[in-house]
């Protein structure tokens, strides 16, 4: 997993904006309603880390109340890429469990299902987008749940 390129917040904001629609809700930011400076500020406030692998963007935010857990996000629908990223977090961040906040109906749902996450709840009307409130599903996995890639 050496070819993960780490992006600082401004570069991450630009990369998220360049992602065709894949980035709305990524770690809670939204290139449609926030400009790059606002996104960079939010990523910094969250203590988020964003990486690029080819066309895909991957990100995590450590859980300050329980640092062995991280919230993760991806703009790619490829479960294997996410599994590799989680293994990377396991070895470099000593993460033992992962959470993902996935807008209902977004491509990332299949990604997380595909690599061993299971849904543990739904946040009702958590986001507003294109004129409507949409639910956000909560996905969870322990390091043991992850499929062997």
């Amino acid at each position: 997993m050496t070819d993960l390129e780490r992006l600082d917040p401004p570069a991450a904001a630009a990369a998220l904006r360049a992602t065709p629609d894949g980035a709305r809700g990524f770690l809670g930011v939204d290139p449609v309603t926030q400009n790059d400076m606002a996104i960079a500020g939010e990523l910094t406030r969250l203590g988020a880390h964003v990486f690029r692998r080819g066309q895909a963007l991957l990100g995590f935010v450590p859980n300050s109340e329980q640092p062995r857990q991280a919230t993760v996000a991806t703009t790619s629908a490829d479960p294997d890429l996410m599994t590799e990223f989680l293994t990377f977090l396991g070895s470099y961040q000593r993460c033992t469990s992962y959470v993902a906040m996935v807008p209902s109906g977004s491509a990332a749902e299949s990604t997380f299902n595909g690599c061993g996450f299971h849904r543990t709840g739904t946040l009702r009307g958590h986001r507003y987008q294109t004129g409507q409130y949409q639910d956000v599903h909560v996905y969870f996995a322990t390091v043991g749940d992850l499929c062997r890639s």
């Binding site: 309603t33 469990s97 543990t120 009702r124 958590h126 507003y128 409130y133």
Partner: protein, 153 residues
């Protein structure tokens, strides 16, 4: 229950022996004598809103998001005012909907702290999700639940 704007004189209401970030910030028993109390910073910018119920505690809306019309709610209750907790949480939800005109108010509830079960329901909050090992408490990671109230309009 009347909520009013925060004043510098209310600073001591902002710390206590509750689990930090908790929706139901009730004082916990056997808090280690050398452990720092949980503290919340005084309101200082638009990202959070904090109101005070004098003598009882505070209600705090963090991560206020005006596009999604939501905020994460925390309350902190003084040891002497625990029996007013229900009034405070109900006032907090009502203020979020009516005065801030938010559409969604949500927060963390940690079962390991044994909060009285009816408190949230009576304030119109429902459990939406559980996240295992989401907070370190009393020597081990324990699950945390997300409870929320959504305004019907």
């Amino acid at each position: 229950m009347m909520l009013r704007g925060y004043r510098a004189g209310d600073l001591e209401l902002l710390s206590g022996t509750w689990l930090s970030g908790e929706l139901l910030g009730l004082p916990l028993p056997n808090w280690p004598v050398l452990a720092e109390p949980a503290t919340v910073g005084p309101p200082s910018d638009e990202t959070s809103e904090l109101c005070v119920a004098p003598g009882t505690g505070f209600v705090r809306y963090c991560d206020v998001d005006w596009v999604h019309r939501r905020a994460r709610l925390e309350i902190g209750v003084r040891r002497e005012a625990v029996d007013s907790a229900e009034l405070l949480i109900s006032a907090a939800v009502a203020y979020g909907f009516r005065t801030l005109s938010l559409r969604r108010v949500y927060g963390w509830v940690t079962p390991a702290t044994h909060p009285p079960p009816y408190l949230c329901e009576r304030a119109g909050l429902q459990r939406e999700a559980t996240i295992p090992s989401a907070v370190w408490f009393d020597g081990r990671p324990v699950p945390r639940e997300i409870w929320a109230a959504v305004r019907r309009d």
